[in-house]
Symmetry: C2
Subunit: 677 residues, 2 copies
């Protein structure tokens, strides 16, 4: 008696014997091999393509004959004719096992494949989305078995896909009967179920086999900017990204001023809720247009945001977040319908997932950074800083992860800066100042040339030079300190003190003239004493938060620093450390994670497993409340100077020993002397 | 060593030993004794009142000492002082076990008690509602454990009430924080969970202990009338009832004409959906006003309706219900939010339960009748007829239940009748005609007097005599046949043929003058030949449906007949049988169930268990489709005569052997001769 054919799947290595004539897809399913299929084996979707291998496989101990699989059949021939089947490929639902065979499942035929995104972040996305397409054939109605169309659809889903309970919103029930009849009782349904749901939910349906793609929005809802990525739910690719100023800025630039607005103005919280929801609709509409898709194809949205943005998005008055004990209305994950958030520029049945908040001041954005950067898996002690209007700070390794947030204010985003602007073409983003001549050179967003390169004027003619963005102001201030234009207390010296006419009087203080575009009708771009103070406040808050976590952990240095945030990618590690934004570390151990919160949002959008992981991890993160911690104030005050009054930065070169304080006693000079504490 | 005290609860008989000092409520819960509590044992709600018994109980084998329970405590004293505690009563959460004791749980302290309603139906309602109140104390927020208020609420519910997952709609999340703080971290929540839900759902919340009542609407959404009962979810009492004409009537009087309207007019189905939803809001608002409650206290609604009304309520085009195979979009139970149906005159978080449809022509109204009348528990074979614009017919016993519906049209509701009107004050509802003088006497709704009683004119002066309602026309037609004013074919005789001047010419036929109010400025109320034809069509359809079920069951008689429906209570069994509306049965075996569909709706509103029961039973009912069954036509034709051409009615007296057919051969005479088949 001959044995049943043996099938070995690669790369999984799963193997088993099946009766001759078993379709490859059936064998894969029974072995738990990850082989995709939308049509359930009907030869329609072509997602189950496989590559059989022939010949000797000593490693597997098999010889694969040329006739190991059934012959190419009519369905495969038709598919090849209409859409082309790559050389050596077969359809797993059509090819049947005849003899022992080794079968490779190519990456594009795996459901839970890792996809390397092409955009900024090269992070591999694991695809395991909550919303997927299923093609099914529904039995026709029968007067002797008078169940409804929905009930017969459910039975077909149970039989073909093992799907249990199904919730169907009324608007889709309205679509159900005409769709089934139009498709001749064949239908493609989009169903949603994440790890928290007990039932699948019908999201949309189309007659017959539907080729369309499903998309999700990964939204990083910041105090100052809202960034969103339109993401293909099949492969995680970002089809389009867009950003928008948060229109709530007109009610207050930072979180606490928005909370105050809500407290002082009855109904003010709802005004802010309306404003942000309108902006989200605009953003979703823009992205659909940019991506060339219909808004109805947007079937999911994932939000990450700080607790105040979180509550205002949800229509919850954030007043409790403005005072101790900073009680959240809800800290857990929320799953909602798009309609709950008035999100009309999406499928009416779209689902919304909002990451959990870690604490009253540590929000879903921090949770998203934790998901993206996974400090809980780090061998060495990592400090992860997500720089924004509010900084989210994580410190941890395999042993323990701590988190806090720190109210840096919007200076790092170019706001409250005299020539500040958001990062957009025309904004100065990189600055160098010659320590001898005190002359600057810079780059603006939109051109790779430095301002002293030939052709710079031509390259920037269309955008102009309009202002200075967050990364630009950090570099400018750090360079001013390195060039001796500013002393350790942050005072800008006069022309006499610094020896450059770029140091110009401004009221009772001085400013440094970075660029004068007035000859061409452009602006004068200055770094004023006020700008320096704003950056000092911001960087002190950021540093104090990090230092507080280090105290809690009982360390005075970290192994590595990860800069994250919308403009984290653009901050130069050297300049960040000159400013004292971050604790001392070897410069090659300061890396950028890009927009980690946005990446975390995309991960949660693409993977149900990622959602489960962050929900579990968030419960294990130790939260530190900066607002009521006396040591925070202490660290904050000590971090005001450049470099700090107390903390050493062995990895930095010495900074010029200058002092421009004209009144009273000179405040100590260089770093060596200052280290008095 | 002495044993722990023994406690015996009556009426349940449950018993157990508990350590001395155990509160009675705790013992009851551990034994699974049905003892109510809203406050969870905090001595606030007083729902857990019990009555201890003292002395010798040979039946239970115990002697109960006077000190079997702890002494009256301060909480009980305060409650007694403020609100009065009946003699012999204790609060189960305060009184603790000291020695062996027998404790009676009075009916009002039982959650799942049977309540005998005071209104029309004397049916006992089992109370087991899906929405209940819970009082809890929520831990205050703690910065070291920064979970949200909702999460701490959930933990308190889990701890005190064993409640698991909780869904909270956004508008209630908005209310949560101020409510908790206003109540000093004490809160009363209304939670909903029926047998199909995996989680409880937050419906409303109030600071501190909330005394308010929760209400539900039981709605019988008929083709012609919408009836609703505002029901107390604590005891099942109907606080107010109201009815309204279904405004969809302007789109078509019967079901098929509304389906046609939807087919002929794009968007016509949505017009009808809007119309009925507006009417429901009006009805809910009226009931809240009548009952003296706030609309927010309406937290549930249960709907029963036929399939076309069902689909139009849900916003689903009923077109498929107009043609074979009469496919429902969905046949299963639906649980929705009030907002899904635009039901704004209720709590925003109110839940809606819609009974399942049995088949494309046999709706949730038939399911409600089945729930109310429970034919599946009947020892003898019962025919249950719910008379309306569409008749729902059930035939069954313990062995098997069959169901169909029959398109009787609106004649039985007074529509399509020349002097017809809905049942309202001024409508003739009872008719007798003297077989000798051919003179009528009648009663009108709003007075108990007959028209030949002294004082009748005065009694009806305010309402007038305005028309004839459904039960009135049935009696009038049957009496006309009994008095020899009409022959077996339904022809009304002339004055010469009948010997009364009340038989007056009307066109080429005759009419019977029931009442002439013209002298007082009122209407002439006639029964015309057209009215007779309308009633003949309606009664033939009704009878043919019943006969079809009897054929299916293989019987030619039934043991008993139950008349249900909005006016089922008012139909006289004798007249119904004279007309041949129902099959022959002993007159004392023809009973009225009142508005059985409405009763079924109330049962589902009051009891989760009733919902589970009907869902299970509906799956077991055999559905018969009248529209495509050739025997239906045959029965319909044979049932046109009065009495029928074929079926015998041994329980009826002989009917006059008259014939008024003036053209062609006389159609046989009396009944004996007619029985030629």
């Amino acid at each position: 008696m001959t044995q049943d054919p043996l099938v070995i799947f690669t790369p999984s290595g799963k193997r088993g014997r099946f009766p001759a004539g078993t379709p490859v897809l059936t064998a894969a399913r029974q072995l738990g091999v990850d082989l995709d299929s939308v049509c359930g084996g009907r030869g329609i979707c072509s997602k189950c393509q496989i590559t059989p291998s022939y010949g000797e496989f000593p490693k597997h101990g098999v010889t694969v004959r040329d006739d190991a699989l059934s012959e190419w059949n009519a369905v495969e021939a038709r598919y090849d004719e209409k859409r082309g089947l790559a050389e050596g490929r077969r359809l797993g639902c059509q090819a049947t096992l005849q003899h022992d065979v080794v079968i490779d499942v190519p990456p594009e035929s795996q459901v839970h494949r890792q996809v390397v995104r092409k955009a900024a972040s090269t992070r591999a996305m694991v695809m395991d989305p909550a919303t997927k397409l299923y093609f099914i054939e529904v039995p026709e109605p029968d007067m002797d078995e008078p169940r409804g169309d929905l009930e017969r659809l459910q039975e077909a889903l149970a039989k073909d896909w093992g799907i249990g309970a199904l919730d169907a919103p009324l608007p889709l029930l309205r679509k159900l009967q005409p769709t089934l009849r139009k498709g001749g009782w064949q239908v493609t349904v989009a169903l949603h179920k994440d790890h928290r749901d007990s039932a699948h939910r019908l999201i949309d349906l189309w007659p017959g086999y539907h080729e369309g793609r499903l998309y999700g929005l990964a939204i990083d809802l910041g105090s100052t900017t809202i960034a969103a990525h339109l993401t293909d739910l099949r492969n995680g690719e970002v089809l389009a990204s867009a950003g928008l100023m948060n229109p709530q800025i007109r009610f207050g630039e930072d979180l606490m001023s928005r909370v105050s607005y809500a407290m002082m103005n009855p109904g003010g919280d709802l005004e802010m809720t309306r404003a942000v929801r309108e902006a989200l609709n605009q953003l979703a509409g823009d992205l659909a247009r940019d991506g060339g898709i219909e808004p109805e194809q947007i079937v999911e949205a994932v939000f990450v945001c700080n607790p105040v943005m979180h509550h205002l998005l949800l229509g919850i008055d954030p007043v409790e977040l403005g005072q101790a004990p900073f009680a959240l209305a809800t800290s857990d994950v929320l799953t909602l319908g798009a309609a709950d958030l008035d999100l009309t520029a999406a499928n009416g049945a779209a689902r919304v997932y909002i990451l959990p908040c870690i604490a009253g001041h540590v929000g879903a954005d921090a949770a998203a950074v934790a998901l993206s950067e996974a400090p809980e898996t780090s061998e060495d002690l990592a400090l992860i800083v997500d720089v924004g209007t509010n900084a989210e700070i994580l410190l941890g390794d395999r042993a323990r992860v701590l988190a806090c947030s720190s109210p840096t204010g919007p200076a790092f985003e170019g706001a409250q800066i005299s020539s500040g602007q958001r990062a957009a073409p025309g904004a100065i983003e990189r600055v160098e100042i010659d320590p001898v001549t005190k002359e600057p050179r810079f780059r603006v967003i939109g051109s790779d040339l430095w301002s002293d390169d030939p052709g710079f004027s031509e390259a920037t003619a269309t955008t102009g030079i309009t202002g200075i963005c967050g990364s630009g102001i950090i570099e400018a201030v750090a360079e001013m300190r390195l060039a001796g234009l500013m002393d350790a207390s942050g005072l800008i010296g006069s022309a006499e003190q610094t020896g450059t006419r770029r140091a110009i009087p401004e009221g009772r203080t001085h400013a440094y003239l970075l660029h004068d575009g007035t000859a061409d009708g452009g602006p004068r771009i200055l770094v004023t004493q006020g700008d320096i103070r704003a950056i000092q406040l911001a960087k002190s808050a950021l540093y104090a938060g990090a230092r507080l976590l280090m105290d809690e952990r009982g360390v005075d240095k970290v192994d590595r620093v990860v800069l994250a945030g919308a403009f984290g990618a653009h901050i130069s590690p050297k300049h960040a450390m000159v400013l004292g934004m971050i604790p001392d570390a070897p410069l090659d151990k300061v890396t950028s994670a890009g927009n980690a919160a946005g990446t975390g949002a995309r991960m949660a959008l693409c993977s149900v497993e990622a959602r489960a992981r962050i929900e579990e991890n968030v419960g294990r993160i130790t939260k530190i409340e900066t607002a009521i911690e006396p040591r925070f104030q202490e660290h904050f005050v000590n971090a005001n100077a450049i470099p700090h009054a107390t903390d050493p930065f062995p990895h930095l070169p010495d900074l010029p020993d200058v002092s421009f304080n004209t009144g009273g006693a000179a405040e100590g000079g260089g770093r060596r002397r200052r280290r008095r504490a």
